[in-house]
Symmetry: C2
Subunit: 473 residues, 2 copies
């Protein structure tokens, strides 16, 4: 470090440092989710931060390709770049000659690669979770970062609907433990195929889903209009059936039967299967005491992701409940989503395997928990007690006492070095350390140490064994 | 995903996927270390995977600059690149025009940036730990990766020697909990300054340390020779003092005094301070029952890192002990290292702050633990019990029983879908699930479920409450 140019410290746009308190809170979310994943038999995996260019290119559409962070090759990277394109400054054409690695864009394509590559080492059905940062060269804005965490659980290689039930239960359990009132929207790609056919839009499926997905934004009148335009007049014939199924009402069985009978008329097996699947999952969930007013079949949830082929989830805040319980109104996008997909592994030459998975929107969950003050006051990452002292002798005495506290596996510290008592107390306050042991001459003589509760200000004289007892309880 | 080109799945060279079992083992190491860090009052932080080019450039020497992974700017990145250098394919000159971000190379320079940038939000002395991947464009080889984890604990803003004592205790505790027999080498940059002066090499300090650092490789005779060459004959006069201090022997106080008296003659305050510091740290550690044959003042440990200014650590395997306890010989570089450094934050314009830190070599620790079979048989990440079934009715019954087990917070699974019993049993075996509950017609009729211990093969008929009791114990 011979010649150091002083520079003002700053971060690349769209990235963040995390302060200790923020890390503790993020860990609380991660640990809660991990614990539930493990309880349901999911195992954690990890993959490298960067993948080969050809592994990720073309997997996320044109827009996605643009948002991939490319890593410059090492050494004399321009050596083999075509001269004509260098001279014409054709960035797009040059990239593949000077970059062979890209940062991970999501956890799904790496999962597909991983499953095919390690097929013989994995146990199928393969239940894995993966919590890791991903990177996207998106224009940074409030709440959107170039580096952010994804948190996914997937089951690969099983078509059983039991997986859908389990994943729904995971959503319910995680948000219950975190204390976030949510609403789970369920839909089904298969049902939507059937319904599109019913409406005469089977040949315009993508447009059809785009229209009904907007229902909560544009209202049902506009949806009818647009559907009629799309289908030349037949589109709105059945659309009134949809809102009926929003809630799991007393007579929902009848209503399901009504639609299924219509699917039978037009011979849509997709429609029949889709609706039956929804019914099975909903019934299983309600049986296990998930409140029926916090989950529904929401057929207008059509989600843009084209690769879903079965059940689709979206988890959103339960706004009425938040208003009631917290007296707050919060605007926030979905906190989770997922679905069943087929042929995930096909792109890497893997055999045909069905997969189903859910993900948690960590960054939004964090924001909601901050807003609703849901983080526990003590996050288990903080020192329980600080020893303070006045001179070499009391420091040595304190240090010895500290070893006993640590031997009891209690997180504890001694203030390092000689500072005035109020400075040492400030240290405890700043780090939110709840107890302080003050050691001076009197304490050393009597063995009765001053044990101070920083919140109440209460102070007691206790010996070290009594202090350990207090800290344990 | 309209047109998918099938490609053979593979990883960039020098990177790794982690299978579930590997992640569980790595988590065991991380969690053990984190627990100790927290017990000593260290708080976790995080920083982005990439930093601004100018933040890292020039901080790791020329070699380091070469090994930084640069990220290509987004969009039309060639637009502003100088044409002359593009035409002459001057890679080195072009880089700064097409890349403004680089992947993190270590956790130390980001720490310096972080401390200066967030100074007003941090509590000093700032005790932080950071466990995260770093990336280096090194030539991959056995045991050396382009992506690997670093694991650092540092204290910034305190010159108290108590910090050195605490960090040494952390080393001792972590390796004791992991079960790895290690030897802690302590040295001191200040002592080495004094000793160099004693040997007449004060103006050739770097060369001096390089020579004595090689002592374990080239032997003391060669060291003497090289020192004599370096100092024109005076260098070997005191070198015989060094080996005397390798072990903490009965009369080590006398020996320390002997050298200190020599430092007094040549008026080397550095030498006196350095040796006194070593003595204080050693005595504190030995007082807290760290075995005296597993730590020593090893003055020939001079470590290349020029920025250390005080105590230096290196943790290596204790080979004699491994031979005795495990009947094995293992060749392995150091498992940890660290030291005190001054002016870490200076490069970012921060006020003068002394720091001291240690790091753990996660990848090598992993390899040693594999070699010595030190990972616990059950890593707490495995499902405890699997429910297997034969048909829809027994699946439904099993699923209901499963909910009770999960309500008791026991990690448990049901085999999803209809497979033959032996296939379901294989799933339990492959995932190392220790217990299986088999549910068929008899079990449903009697409520007595077949509870099988997969290791012993033992099978019992128990109701679900009894099974939960068994699984809990």
């Amino acid at each position: 470090m011979a010649e150091i140019k002083k520079i003002k410290p700053s971060l690349p746009k769209g990235t963040r440092d995390f302060l200790p308190e923020e890390v503790a809170k993020r860990n609380y979310i991660f640990d809660t989710i991990k614990k539930v994943f493990r309880k349901y038999g999911f195992q954690q995996i990890d993959t490298p931060a960067f993948e080969r260019l050809e592994t990720l290119t073309g997997k996320y559409g044109e827009e996605g390709d643009r948002l991939l962070f490319k890593i410059l090759n090492s050494g004399d990277y321009l050596k083999d770049a075509p001269e004509a394109e260098l001279q014409s400054k054709n960035s797009a054409a040059i990239t593949k000659h000077i970059s062979e690695k890209v940062l991970r864009y999501d956890l799904t394509v790496p999962l597909a690669r991983y499953v095919v590559q390690h097929q013989s080492d994995l146990t199928f059905p393969f239940k894995r979770f993966h919590i890791a940062p991903v990177w996207r060269a998106d224009r940074p804005q409030k709440g959107r970062y170039q580096e952010f965490y994804q948190c996914d659980a997937d089951i690969i290689g099983s078509t059983s609907l039991l997986n859908e039930v389990e994943l729904t239960l995971i959503y319910a359990e995680v948000f219950r433990v975190l204390g976030i009132p949510v609403y789970i929207d369920l839909s089904s790609r298969k049902f939507l195929y059937g319904f599109a056919k019913l409406c005469g839009a089977e040949n315009n499926f993508i447009e059809f889903t785009t229209i009904i997905d907007k229902e909560d934004k544009i209202g049902s009148a506009r949806v009818k209009e647009e559907l009629n335009t799309l289908t030349a007049g037949t589109g709105d014939k059945y659309i009134d059936l949809l809102p009926l199924m929003y809630m799991t009402e007393e007579n929902y069985e009848e209503r399901f039967e009504n639609i299924i009978s219509k699917f039978k008329v037009i011979d849509s097996q997709d429609g029949i299967d889709g609706l039956t699947e929804i019914q099975i999952v909903l019934e299983a969930i309600l049986k296990y005491k998930y409140p029926s007013d916090r989950i529904s079949f929401t057929p207008t949830l059509a989600r843009g992701l084209g690769y879903y082929s079965g059940i689709i989830w979206e988890v959103v805040l339960n706004k009425p409940q938040i208003l009631e319980d917290f007296n707050k109104e919060i605007e926030m996008g979905s906190l989770g989503g997922g679905g069943r997909y087929d042929n995930l592994t096909e792109m890497f030459g893997g055999r045909d395997m069905s997969g189903v998975g859910i993900s948690f929107g960590i960054e939004r969950i964090y924001d909601v928990m901050e807003e609703l003050k849901l983080f526990p006051a003590e996050l288990g990452e903080t020192t329980k007690v600080l020893f303070v002292h006045f001179d070499d002798a009391s420091e040595a005495y304190a240090f010895e006492a500290l070893q006993k506290v640590r031997a009891a596996d209690i997180a504890s510290e001694i203030y390092p070095g000689r500072r005035k008592l109020d400075k040492q107390m400030n240290y405890a306050n700043d780090k939110k350390i709840p107890f302080v042991v003050v050691i001076g001459g009197d304490e050393m003589a009597s063995g009765k140490l001053s044990f101070k509760n920083m919140a109440s200000g209460e102070q007691q004289k206790l010996n070290i064994e009594e202090i350990i007892e207090k800290l344990r309880s």
